[in-house]
Structures are given as structure tokens and as C-alpha cells.
């Protein structure tokens, strides 16, 4: 009775290379990742290593070249209906108000309009945007747009949260506020989370487990570190604790080699980069 919420089994993703169609680019090679119910997993890796590719596979937005995705034991076919996705880039519909954006998922699922609006207003209040329902995305700040995106995802009550560097575009202060807010919302009902980031500190501060990916091409997990820091946590304070520093230096030691590898690969000419 211990079925993982999400299991990526031996996933490989190949893409046709733009400059040489005969030689496909392998973004992800033979990668496996398991997320238990209620577990917060952070996935870190150097830039351009195919982190987003892996997440898109888990979301069902991208079919892997080989391998299986299992969602609560069931093989995934098409979009992952039990998952919510928070994107790195702007994903709100600019022609919809904040409220209409939050309600979009309910509307697509045929929830009656007054009911959808009621729940949407409730969620906007929960992410601290009570009075901003009628604003369009361009009238909101970057942090506010992320809050709307968070509410837009959570209103559907997904069992798995897939987050692709959701706060990387924010300034440090706003980012830490959002991270704390995410932890508060998460601890209320402990969903499974896959949180992708290139920031090791963010990964350790938020998660129960940090998975380190190798440099691309052919990315796969090369390290798995349980984070035994106590909860509830404050992301800005936990960074100062000795256990945090210890974990950080241990994981960073394993990551460093891959980061250097990725950096050198970016410098070498004529090689395609993912992302």
C-alpha cells in the first residue's frame, strides 16, 4: 500500500538536432525518479541539463523516447490530470483578469460560473491578492503574477505539484517570501512536489530530498540526499543553521564537478544546448 505518487522509470528523451538531423540530441538518458506521497523533492542540476525536459515528461506535455511514467501506479498517457504545473516563464493568460485566470481550470472542467468565482475569490485571498481580482496580469508585479499562478494551480487541488524554477525571475526578498508561502500552503495538506531549481540553497531549504542531476547531454540523477532539517522552516533563517551548511557543502561537493562540466560544454563551440 505504498504506491509512489510519481515514478519516472528509465526515461530517455531524444530530440532531432537542428544542425545535424542524422545525430539526435539526447537530453535525458535512462533517468529514474520516484516521489512518494506527501514528499517534497527538489531536483537540482547545472543550467541546460534537461531539468525542464524531465518535468515536462512527468506532466505529460512531452512523450519520452523510451521509458514509462507512472502516476499512482498507473502508466501515464497524455496530460497528467492529477498534477498541477507551475512554469518558469509567464504562463498567465494576459487577456484574463487575475480572477478569471485563477478560475480558468475550473471553467475548463465545467464548474458552474458563480461557484468558480466564489472559489477563485477565496484562493486569491489565500495567496494575499484579495483586492486584485479585476487586474490584468500586466497591471500586477512579478511576485503578484507568481501568486496568481500559484492559486491557478492549487485551486484544482492537484495531488502532485510540478514546479519548474517558479521563483527564479523574482528578486531575492520576494523570492524568500514566496518560498515561505509555498511551504505554508504545502504543509496544510502535504501534496507530492517536484521542485526544479538550479539554486542548491533553495532546494535544501524547501525539500525533504534533493536529487542532483548530471550535466547534459544524457542527463540522469547522480545523487540523492535526504534533508533532515526540522519543519516548519523559515527559508531565510534556516540557511544559517549548521546542519544546513553541512548538507550544502556535501551536496555542492557532488554537484560542482557537473556544474564545471556543463560550463565547459557551453564554451565548446558547435554543440547544441538543451532548454
Amino acid at each position: 500500500m505504498n504506491v509512489p505518487s510519481l515514478a519516472l522509470e528509465r526515461i530517455t528523451c531524444r530530440f532531432a538536432s537542428a544542425d545535424d538531423p542524422a545525430q539526435p540530441y539526447t537530453a535525458v538518458l535512462d533517468a529514474s525518479l520516484t516521489v512518494q506521497a506527501g514528499e517534497f523533492v527538489a531536483v537540482v542540476g547545472p543550467t541546460g541539463c534537461g531539468k525542464s525536459t524531465l518535468l515536462n515528461v512527468a506532466a505529460g506535455l512531452l512523450a519520452p523516447s523510451s521509458g514509462t511514467v507512472r502516476v499512482f501506479g498507473e502508466p501515464l498517457n497524455g496530460i497528467n490530470r492529477r498534477a498541477g504545473y507551475m512554469f518558469q516563464a509567464e504562463a498567465l493568460m494576459p487577456w484574463r483578469t487575475a480572477l478569471a485566470n485563477v478560475c480558468a481550470g475550473l471553467q475548463f472542467r465545467g464548474v458552474e460560473e458563480t461557484e468558480a468565482r466564489r472559489r477563485g475569490t477565496e484562493w486569491l485571498e489565500r495567496v494575499g491578492l484579495g483586492g486584485f481580482g479585476s487586474r490584468y496580469p500586466h497591471q500586477l508585479s512579478g511576485g503578484m503574477r507568481k501568486r496568481v499562478a500559484l492559486a491557478q494551480m492549487l485551486i484544482l487541488n492537484p495531488e502532485i505539484l510540478l514546479m519548474d524554477e517558479p521563483f527564479s525571475a523574482l528578486d531575492v526578498q520576494t523570492r524568500q517570501l514566496m518560498e515561505n508561502e509555498l511551504l505554508a500552503l504545502w504543509s496544510a495538506d502535504r501534496k507530492s512536489v517536484v521542485f526544479i531549481t538550479h539554486d542548491l540553497e533553495e532546494a535544501i531549504a524547501l525539500s525533504d530530498r534533493v536529487v542532483v542531476l548530471s550535466a547534459g547531454p544524457g542527463t540522469r540523477p547522480i545523487g540523492d540526499y535526504p534533508i533532515d532539517l526540522p519543519r516548519p522552516r523559515d527559508v531565510s533563517e534556516i540557511r544559517l543553521e549548521s546542519r544546513f551548511v553541512e548538507l550544502h557543502s556535501r551536496i555542492w561537493h557532488a554537484m560542482k564537478q557537473e556544474v564545471v562540466k556543463a560550463y565547459l560544454r557551453q564554451l565548446s563551440p558547435g554543440r547544441a544546448t538543451a532548454e
Partner: protein
């Protein structure tokens, strides 16, 4: 306020120069005869009188009605066709790859030369003018919708799919709103072209409409009436453009404003 008064000043200077240079009582300095300037360029006072006479006698209403009906029909049908085909080809990569060279060829073709063919097919009535205006409006709207559909943000699209949108819902809630801003950009251009279609069609063969009036006047070298027709058409094209602008402001309330790009 200052800009408006300066704009009025420009109008006054142009009209004044026109009136002065074409006045027969002023000795000719370019032509050999003082009446020639008025013959070639008309006189603003007489142009104005001609417009007043048209409306006072009521003879213009029938012609104006015909031209406006042709223009509006071409505008509405061309826009509807452009949106429909643009959405279809924008969403069907295979179909768009197949039709691509033909669409490019049709667009490159100077379509006004189709007017004689439309006369033969649809006769000298309204239909041939609407057909000509349609071909002019259609391609502008079509290319803009096509572009709009293809430039939908992949992130917004993926997000809508993750939120559970099906094919129809993606069309209705993502592709159409995204293409709409492009449609409005194209409508400002196509208003003028809808008039071109109607007037050129009338000019080439018809028994009513502003283009017909201009053609008749030109036949008897009545330059004042030609100018009166041109001014009337310009005013109505501006009014239609204004209507499109109002509609745009209502439907595109979500767009950030203040870039000032559309003021010119």
C-alpha cells in the same frame, strides 16, 4: 489642446494655399492662362458647394448608401473569411504547408486586376465590388490571424493544457484571444482597402455609388466634383476606422496601453 490647434492650422494653411493658387483672379505664374490652375486642381469653395448641393438636394444619399453597403459587406465578409481560414491554417501544419506557395502567389498578385473578371462573373451590381473588396481585405486579416495563432506563447498554451483545456477550449480561450490583437492591427489597414475595392469596382463599371459619380465627373472634366467625392470617401473611411478603434478599445482592455505606437 495645443496639438489640435496646430493640426487645424495645418488644414487652414493647405486649404488657403489651395484656394489662393487656384483663384482665376490671380495672374497665372506657371500656366499660360489664369483659369488653368482651377481647371486642373479645382477650387475648394466650389468643392465645398458641391458637397453641400449633394446633401441639400438629397441626390448623394443613394450613391453613398450603395458605396457604404459594398464597403461594409467586403469588410465584414473579408474579415470573417480571413479569421476562419487563418485559424484553420494556423492550427493545421500540414494544410498550411500544402497551401503555402498558393497563398503567397495569391497575395503577391496585384488583386485589383481581378476587377474585370469579377464584373464578368458577378455583373455590374454590388456583388462584383464586394468580391473585389473581399480579396483585398481577406489577405491582410488572414496573414495577421495566421501569425497571431503561430505566435501564441508556448508556455501559456502548455499551462492551459495542464489546467485541463481540451481542443475546443484551447481554440476559444487561447488561440482566438491571442489572435484578436493581430486582427485589430490588421482591421485599421483593411478599412481603407474595403473602400478601395468598392470605389475601384464602381469606377470600372457601375450605375451608382461614389466611384460612379467620380467617374462621371471626370468624364466631363469636372474636377471639383471629383475632389468632392474624394473628400466624402475620406470622411467615411475615417468614421469607419474610428468605429474599429472604439471596438478595439472595448475588446482589448487587457492590453497594456501607453506605448503610443498607434497614435501615428
Amino acid at each position: 489642446m495645443k496639438v489640435v490647434s496646430l493640426q487645424l492650422l495645418v488644414l487652414a494653411v493647405v486649404l488657403g494655399a489651395w484656394a489662393l493658387l487656384t483663384n482665376p483672379s490671380i495672374p497665372a505664374f506657371y500656366f499660360d492662362d489664369p483659369n488653368k490652375a482651377a481647371f486642373f486642381f479645382g477650387e475648394p469653395a466650389k468643392v465645398f458647394l458641391c458637397i453641400v448641393r449633394w446633401f441639400a438636394s438629397g441626390e448623394i444619399y443613394g450613391h453613398l448608401w450603395v458605396t457604404l453597403v459594398e464597403t461594409l459587406l467586403a469588410f465584414v465578409l473579408g474579415t470573417a473569411g480571413g479569421v476562419a481560414i487563418g485559424l484553420w491554417l494556423g492550427l493545421a501544419p500540414l494544410a498550411s504547408a500544402i497551401f503555402d506557395p498558393y497563398i503567397k502567389a495569391l497575395n503577391a498578385m496585384p488583386r485589383v486586376i481581378l476587377a474585370p473578371i469579377f464584373m464578368v462573373w458577378f455583373g455590374l451590381g454590388i456583388a462584383s465590388k464586394v468580391a473585389l473588396g473581399f480579396t483585398l481585405v481577406f489577405f491582410i486579416v488572414f496573414f495577421n490571424v495566421y501569425q497571431g495563432v503561430r505566435e501564441v506563447s508556448p508556455t501559456v498554451l502548455a499551462n492551459a493544457r495542464m489546467l485541463g483545456a481540451g481542443r475546443r477550449q484551447l481554440l476559444q480561450h487561447v488561440f482566438m484571444p491571442s489572435a484578436l490583437s493581430w486582427v485589430f492591427a490588421s482591421l485599421h489597414n483593411s478599412v481603407g482597402l474595403a473602400f478601395v475595392g468598392a470605389v475601384v469596382g464602381e469606377y470600372l463599371g457601375s450605375a451608382e455609388g461614389i466611384g460612379y459619380l467620380i467617374h462621371q465627373a471626370e468624364g466631363v472634366f469636372d474636377i471639383n466634383t471629383v475632389f468632392a467625392g474624394i473628400i466624402l470617401l475620406t470622411v467615411f473611411a475615417l468614421l469607419l476606422d474610428l468605429t474599429v478603434g472604439l471596438l478595439e478599445r472595448r475588446l482589448m482592455a487587457w492590453q497594456p496601453r501607453g506605448a503610443g505606437a498607434d497614435s501615428l
